[in-house]
């Protein structure tokens, strides 16, 4: 399904050069009343939070102090996600178009292209793309490679790194839209979001809305991994059932008990409920779920949800910026206890403590890192309740037991 962002040359042809990009899509249109079109398009941020894009732009544009700055956020620290780096590798000019359009729409001169340092293909493509742009545009663009760290894509961390070389979140207020890069109002926007803007500016919000399924609007990039033939990037109309994304990824390679939707900041959904889930921001929110940054990870049979959850929590605890106590100590304690439960070595009270602590993390950090971990854990406790109990009280894992019986 290559509909909008991924229309054009096939992925194996690599980066689309400027000449081909312009032949296919025409020149960069003027920004004009783009904010209104973006608002009517109902475009939401693709970095994970799903915030309405036009609202964010207006907040930046309405600031009085200083000329705004745009940061195209290609940090992509989520380990299960590939979409941002692959988009930058294949369609860097869509991202740059969108960033320049956003800059014009909010009154910014400068654009920072903030790309994860380990996404080497993306950095090369973005660099080459900037050299292809006319001098007047190139002068506005600055490519910065971001540290390889989970939190470095968080928007205050991105601003902090650009300003001071420290890719750690800062306390809010001020939020970047008030005071960001060089103290100026700053729009930090995910690269996929900006690529959608490049198309909305050319083809209009009616066109964008018509791409969606049912009442949903536009398309979205998703990374599908786990119990599918291989981890793939696909573009889907927003609102299609999750099963369609699995089919587009080549179908299931095994039975599956659950799907991790939204990546490490997302949540587990029982597969019986997951297949029919409509993949769009608003529908999922009503169902208490979230597509986050577009990760769909299908738990393969033979893998234990408790073990996977404990592994993710250990990763998130390790990736904490260690600036805020509840995240530094609370998340570490949760990860340690979950590790004991997962490893069939829990001590009395571990599971109860995990349950209590899970409710103590949200809203207690400068950034949303602890909130993300708490959400993931809460979903795991709901979806894998029986397995957690089995691990904790019987020191048994049903997956490991089944595997042992089969061999």
């Amino acid at each position: 399904m290559s509909i909008a962002l991924l229309a054009g040359p096939a992925a194996d042809r690599g980066m689309e050069a400027l000449a081909e990009h312009q032949r296919r899509l025409g020149p960069l249109p003027p920004a004009g009343t783009l904010i209104d079109a973006v608002e009517r398009s109902n475009l939401r941020g693709k970095g994970g939070a799903g915030f309405p894009v036009a609202t964010k732009w207006r907040a930046v544009a309405s600031q009085r102090a200083g000329t705004p700055v745009v940061v195209a956020n290609g940090g992509e620290g989520e380990p299960l996600s590939r979409k941002d780096r692959m988009l930058m590798e294949q369609r860097p000019h869509l991202v740059i178009d969108g960033a320049l359009l956003a800059a014009d729409a909010v009154g910014a001169d400068d654009v920072v292209l903030y790309v994860g340092a380990d996404h080497t293909g993306a950095i090369q493509a973005m660099h080459r793309a900037t050299t292809e742009r006319p001098v007047s545009e190139r002068a506005r663009l600055r490519l910065i490679s971001a540290p390889v760290r989970y939190v470095s894509g968080e928007e205050t961390a991105a601003v902090h790194f650009i300003n001071a070389g420290i890719a750690l979140p800062t306390s809010i207020p001020p939020r970047p839209y008030e005071r960001g890069v060089d103290g100026r109002p700053t729009l930090v926007q995910n690269v996929e979001t900006l690529a959608h803007v490049a198309l909305i500016a050319r083809f209009g919000d009616d066109w964008f809305r018509s791409l969606g399924h049912g009442t949903a609007s536009g398309t979205t990039l998703v990374t599908v991994g786990g119990a599918v033939p291989q981890t793939v990037l696909i573009e889907i109309p927003q609102g299609v059932p999750l099963a369609d994304a699995i089919d587009a990824a080549g179908g299931l390679t095994s039975d599956s008990a659950a799907v991790l939707l939204g990546g490490y900041f997302g949540g587990w959904v029982e597969s019986t409920a997951a297949w029919a889930l409509p993949l769009d921001v608003e529908s999922l929110r009503r169902l208490g779920s979230s597509l986050g940054c577009g990760v769909i990870a299908v738990l393969p049979s033979g893998r234990c949800g408790v073990v996977e959850t404990a592994r993710i929590l250990a990763y998130l605890a390790h990736e904490s910026a260690r600036q805020c106590g509840p995240c530094t100590f609370g998340l570490r304690a949760i990860a340690a206890a979950a590790g004991r439960v997962s490893g069939l070595a829990s001590t009395p009270g571990d599971l109860e403590r995990i349950q209590r602590w899970a409710g103590l993390l949200a809203g207690r950090g400068a950034c949303r890192h602890p909130d993300g971990a708490a959400g993931l854990l809460a979903s795991a406790l709901g979806v894998f309740t029986a397995e957690f109990l089995l691990h904790d009280s019987d020191h048994r894992c049903s997956i490991a037991t089944a595997a042992a019986a089969a061999s």
Partner: protein, 83 residues
């Protein structure tokens, strides 16, 4: 005594809540001693703050907690009300 608090954009409110800078907070725990009605400590000694408006009766204690925070992490912030 009625205090009024600014909360940006010229909006004035006499309803306040506790705010905290989580990066500055070092878990000294002074606040929980001074205003236990509003603040408990978690298992690691960091404050868990009761959400919402501070009742007038507790406000003097909350002010003392804000003033006494060794990390300067605690603040009173206005709850925005349109008027």
């Amino acid at each position: 005594m009625q205090h009024r608090h600014r909360c940006g954009r010229g909006i004035v409110s006499d309803r306040v809540m506790l705010g905290i800078d989580r990066i500055k907070c070092d878990g000294h725990g002074v606040c929980a001693d001074l205003v236990p009605e509003l603040i408990e400590l978690d298992d690691w000694g960091y404050p868990v703050i009761r959400a919402g408006e501070i009742p007038q009766s507790v406000l003097p204690h909350a002010r003392r907690a804000v003033a006494g925070c060794p990390a300067l992490a605690l603040r009173l912030q206005a709850i925005a009300t349109r008027r």
